[in-house]
């Protein structure tokens, strides 16, 4: 089963999902939603990788997908651990209050 939809549509879809992720990342004010939007952006990038892999009939894109989800798993685990520690410290996860390093 192979697609007959032009690759441009796949790339535009990936771009749209990335846009939603970036919007969410910039407007959300708590750390959990930020991490979730980060996952959304990584997933959008993965979609572009798979599209390019199919376009060039090469497995390289699939391998890159594999590496990206490895990094995504590490990143979400680290982020969530940091957030749990922050919550223990401050009893909230509001990013507006997290200004210790803001200068």
């Amino acid at each position: 089963m192979t697609t007959t939809v032009p690759f441009a549509y796949w790339l535009i879809l990936s771009f749209g999902v990335f846009c939603f992720g970036a919007c969410g990342f910039l407007i959300r004010k708590n750390a959990l939603s930020l991490l979730i939007c980060l996952e959304l952006m990584l997933s959008a990038v993965n979609m572009a990788f798979i599209t390019f892999a199919r376009m060039h009939m090469s497995e390289g894109g699939n391998i890159l997908y594999f590496l990206v989800i490895t990094v995504a798993a590490c990143e979400s685990a680290q982020g969530l651990a940091l957030m749990i520690n922050y919550f223990r410290l401050k009893q909230n996860i509001r990013l507006d209050d997290a200004r210790a390093l803001a200068g």
Partner: protein
């Protein structure tokens, strides 16, 4: 007459975009996480349409399974009320618009430079193994072996790091009197 692939693609794309919007704009993190799970499932469907079956399975198992379970677990562990989540809004819209404008410029330039992108893609050649587990793992374990090893090291380091960050010394409870 629109063929099956177009119908499937556009219905999947509609679900994906809708759920992505819900992920970005629903106020509570647990709703975002649930919509994100739907998004990942339908994205796996799109990968099947592209003929990349291995990544479709990985998407469901690792993304929708493992990573999102971690998220939902932490959300339920913290059990936040709206006060602890903070207020929404106050986005820096100008930088957002600038960023998106630049990205879409790159996309348009890419498609102007590559008119083939708008043509219907050629069918997979007869006997092609694109996207199968065998082809993907053969490439992974021969050509991309260093990336594979490095990803293993990254996972190990992340495991150690999470342990170091989240570990807290158990305090020995002070026994006060004989009550309880």
């Amino acid at each position: 007459m629109p063929d099956l692939h177009h119908i499937l693609f556009f219905s999947f794309a509609a679900i994906i975009l809708f759920s992505a919007g819900m992920v970005a704009f629903r106020p509570r993190p647990v709703e975002s996480a649930m919509w994100l799970i739907l998004n990942f499932f339908v994205t796996a469907g799109l990968y099947v349409l592209l003929g990349s079956h291995f990544t479709a399975v990985i998407q469901v198992l690792v993304y929708a399974g493992a990573i999102m379970v971690l998220f939902v677990f932490v959300i339920l562990l913290l059990n936040l009320d709206p006060r602890e989540l903070g207020t929404e809004g106050g986005a820096s819209w100008s930088s957002l618009v600038l960023f998106m404008g630049f990205l879409s410029f790159v996309l348009v330039a890419l498609q102007l430079a590559t008119p083939d992108l708008l043509k219907a893609p050629a069918a997979l050649p007869e006997g092609s193994t694109f996207g199968s587990v065998e082809a993907a793992s053969r490439e992974l374990l021969t050509k991309y072996i260093w990336g594979f090893q490095l990803s293993g090291i990254i996972l190990l380091l992340a495991l150690i790091g999470v342990g170091l960050i989240a570990y807290r010394k158990a305090k020995v409870p002070q026994v006060k009197g004989a009550q309880a």
